[in-house]
Amino acid sequence: MDKFNTLTGVAAPMDMINIDTDKIIPKLHLRTIKRTGLGKVLFEEMRFETDGSEKPDFILNKEPYRNSKIIVAGDNFGCGSSREHAPWALLDFGIRCVISTSFADIFYNNCFKNGILPIRVTKDQLDALMADASDTENPELTVDLVNMEIKRPNGVTVPFELDAFRRECLLDGLDDIGLTMQKGDKIDGFEAQQNQAQPWLNSAPPA
C-alpha cells in the first residue's frame, strides 16, 4: 500500500448525496480476479453512454477534472454494498482522497485498506470546499495528513480528525495483517478459552 502523507491535486465537486457503490462501480465489473485496472469503469453509468462515448456533462469528463486526485461529495458517500472494488476503482483512476459530510461504514473502512483517505467535514466546511472545487480556474486542494488539515486555495485551512491507528497505517503504508499476526499469542489464548466455554463453535463440519 502506498504511503499517504500530503496530497495536492485537483478536487472534483460531486454535489450529490447518497452516491452509492453501484454508481461508483457497476456490478458487472466485480467479475474480476484482480484489484487493478478498474479506473476505466469508475462511475461508468454516469460517465459513459452505453456505446462507450463520454457523457460531456459528467465532471470527470471535463477539464481540469480529468486528472482529479480528490473528490468532494455530498452526504453518505459509498452507501450500499461492501465491494472493495469501489475504492480500487477510485485508486486506479488516481483518487487518493474523498471529502464528504459522512460515509457509509464499510466503504469508509475499505478506503484505509487501500491508501485512500476519506475525510469527514461539517456541512459548512463541505459547502466551502465544494465551492473551491467548482472553481475551474483553481480547483486544487492540499490534504495534509501529518497536520490533519485541508488547505483551501485561499490559504484558509480546514482541520479534520482521524483515529490514531488508521492515521499511522496510512502515513506508513502499513499492512494491518502483519500487525495483527504479532498478536498471535493473544489469539491463541482467546481460542483456548473459547474452546472450553463453547466447544461447539470449534467442531469440524459434519462428515
Binding site: I17, N18, G80, N109, F165, I177, P205
Partner: protein, 472 residues
C-alpha cells in the same frame, strides 16, 4: 453489580481478543462465509505466503455470478465461469469447505448459513457482502466486510474494528393483514433514512418483531444495511432455538444444552442504554413499495409519488428529482397506477420457504399479466426441494412464472438475469439503486406477496385487495 449491557455489548465483549491503546479492537471471528466474489483475498494470502488459520470456521459458497438455468447446463459466460473455477481452486488450495453447484445445499450465502446451523446465536459472523446483516436475526453479530478484511480474517481469524454504537428500533403492536417483515423494514428505512443507522448496530425489538417467524426476522435484519447500520440484531428466543435445533452444524447433545443456557443470557439487560432509539407502531404500517432509487424512497401502496418541491432541503429535492427522472415517474401519481414489465421473487431478502408460500398464495389460480415476465428464484437447493415437494413450483409455473435454480440472480443482476433499459420491475430484493437490476432498469422493492400481486395484475397492487388462496 455490572452495568446493564445490550445484546450487542455482550457479544462484542465475549469476542475481544485485544483492545489497542487507540480504542480499536481486535475481535475474534467465529464464522466466515466466503463466496466467489473475493478471489483477491486468497491471492493476497498466496502472495504473503499465509495460510487460512481456521478452515473449519470458514464456509465457501457460490451465488452471485452463477446462472439460474438448470445445473446440468454449462456456464456459458466465460467471465462467470472463470470466477467459479477460481473459487473451486482457491477453496481447495486453502482447505475451505465448499457447496458446489450440484450440491443440494448450494444457495445464497445468507440463506444457507442459517439453514446449515453455521449461523448461531451469540457468534460473530463475517462475509464480504453487505447483506451479512441477515444473520443478526439469530442474535449473532454479523457484519459485511471488504475483501482486505476477509483476507485479514482468513489469516488471523480476527477483525480490527472500532466498536459501533448501540441503536434500538422498537416496533410494537400487531402487523396488519397483508404486511410482512419486508414491510416493517421498508417502513423503518423510510422513517430513519439510508444513513439513519450509520456507525451503529441496530437491535430490532418489540412485539411485532418477536411475532415474526425466523424467516421474517431474517428479512428485517437483512436490510439493516440499507439504513446504513453496520449490523442488525434480534434477541434469540424459543423460535430461534427451535429453528437451530437439529441443523447440521448446530451443537448436539450436551453441547446443545450448554449452548441454550448460554444463549438465554444474551438478550439485552433491563436498563441498558442505547445511543439512539426509534419506535414505530406496527398497526400504522401498510404494504410498502419503493418509488425511487434508494430504499428510503418508499411509500405505502395506497400513497402517491412525492413532489420534490415538498423536500425538506435542497440536497433532498435534487435527489428526489433525480430519482423521479430515472424512474420515469411524475409527482402525485398513485403508486397503484404504476404498470410493471417484470417481477422478481428471490434474493437473500425474500427467497425462503415462507416468502415462496406468501407469493404462491397470491399466484395460485391466477395468471401473470400479459406483457409481464415473472420469475421465482429459491434461496437454496433445499428450499427448492421443499417447495417442489409441496407443489409450490406447480402453482408458480401454472400461473406463468419461471421457476429457477438458486442464486442471487436478478437482485444484483450479474449472472445474466437482468432487466432491459427502461423496464420496470417489481422485486423482492433489497436495492433499487440506479442500474442495480440492469442498466437504466427501474426497480420497485416490495414484499413477496406484493410482487406476486403486481405480477398477476400487471401494475403495483395493494395485496390487501386480492384474495389470498390456500396453497395446500
Amino acid at each position: 453489580m455490572a452495568a446493564p449491557r445490550t445484546l450487542f455489548d455482550k457479544i462484542w465483549d465475549a469476542h475481544l481478543v485485544d483492545t489497542t491503546e487507540d480504542g480499536l479492537s481486535i475481535l475474534y471471528a467465529d464464522r466466515l462465509l466466503i463466496m466467489e466474489m473475493q478471489p483477491q483475498a486468497f491471492e493476497g494470502l498466496r502472495m504473503a505466503g499465509l495460510k487460512v488459520r481456521c478452515p473449519d470456521k470458514v464456509l465457501g459458497v457460490m451465488d452471485h455470478v452463477i446462472p439460474t438455468h438448470p445445473r446440468d447446463q454449462a456456464i456459458e459466460d466465460p467471465v462467470a465461469r472463470m470466477m467459479v473455477e477460481q473459487a473451486y481452486k482457491d477453496y481447495e488450495e486453502f482447505g475451505v469447505e465448499l457447496f458446489d453447484l450440484v450440491d443440494k445445499r448450494q444457495g445464497i450465502v445468507h440463506v444457507i448459513g442459517p439453514e446449515q446451523g453455521f449461523t448461531l446465536p451469540g457468534v460473530t459472523l463475517f462475509c464480504g457482502d453487505s447483506h451479512t446483516a441477515t444473520h443478526g436475526a439469530f442474535g449473532a453479530f454479523a457484519m459485511g466486510v471488504g475483501t482486505s478484511e476477509i483476507e485479514h480474517i482468513l489469516a488471523t481469524q480476527t477483525l480490527r474494528s472500532p466498536k459501533p454504537k448501540n441503536m434500538r428500533v422498537t416496533v410494537d403492536g400487531d402487523l396488519s393483514i397483508g404486511c410482512s417483515g419486508k414491510d416493517i423494514i421498508l417502513a423503518i428505512i423510510g422513517a430513519i433514512g439510508t444513513a439513519g443507522g450509520t456507525g451503529h448496530v441496530i437491535e430490532f425489538a418489540g412485539s411485532a418483531i418477536r411475532d415474526l417467524s425466523m424467516e421474517g426476522r431474517m428479512t428485517v435484519s437483512n436490510m439493516t444495511i440499507e439504513a446504513g447500520a453496520r449490523a442488525g440484531l434480534i434477541a434469540p428466543d424459543e423460535k430461534t432455538f427451535a429453528y437451530c435445533e437439529g441443523r447440521p452444524r448446530a451443537p448436539k447433545g450436551a453441547d446443545w444444552d450448554r449452548a441454550i443456557e448460554y444463549w438465554k443470557t444474551l438478550p439485552t439487560d433491563e436498563g441498558a442504554v442505547f445511543d439512539k432509539e426509534v419506535t414505530l407502531e406496527a398497526e400504522k404500517i401498510a404494504p410498502q413499495v419503493t418509488w425511487g432509487t434508494n430504499p428510503e424512497e418508499v411509500a405505502p401502496i395506497d400513497g402517491v409519488v412525492p413532489d420534490p418541491a415538498d423536500a425538506p432541503n435542497e440536497d433532498r429535492r435534487r435527489m428526489i428529482q433525480r430519482s423521479l427522472d430515472y424512474m420515469g415517474l411524475v409527482p402525485g401519481t398513485a403508486m397503484k397506477d404504476v404498470a410493471i414489465d417484470r417481477a422478481f421473487i428471490g434474493s437473500c431478502t425474500n427467497s425462503r420457504i415462507e416468502d415462496l408460500e406468501a407469493a404462491a398464495a397470491i399466484a395460485r389460480g391466477r395468471k401473470v399479466a400479459d406483457g409481464v415476465e415473472a420469475m421465482v428464484v429459491p434461496g437454496s437447493g433445499l428450499i427448492k426441494d421443499e417447495a417442489e415437494a409441496r407443489g409450490l413450483d406447480k402453482i408458480f409455473t401454472e400461473a406463468g412464472f419461471d421457476w429457477r435454480e438458486p442464486g442471487c440472480s436478478m437482485c444484483i443482476a450479474m449472472n445474466g438475469d437482468n432487466i432491459e433499459p427502461g423496464q420496470r420491475c417489481a422485486s423482492t430484493s433489497n436495492r433499487n439503486f440506479e442500474g442495480r437490476q440492469g442498466r437504466d432498469g427501474r426497480t420497485h422493492l416490495a414484499s413477496p406477496a406484493m410482487v406476486a400481486a403486481a405480477a398477476v395484475t400487471g401494475r403495483l397492487t395493494d395485496v390487501r385487495e386480492l384474495e389470498t388462496r390456500s396453497i395446500e
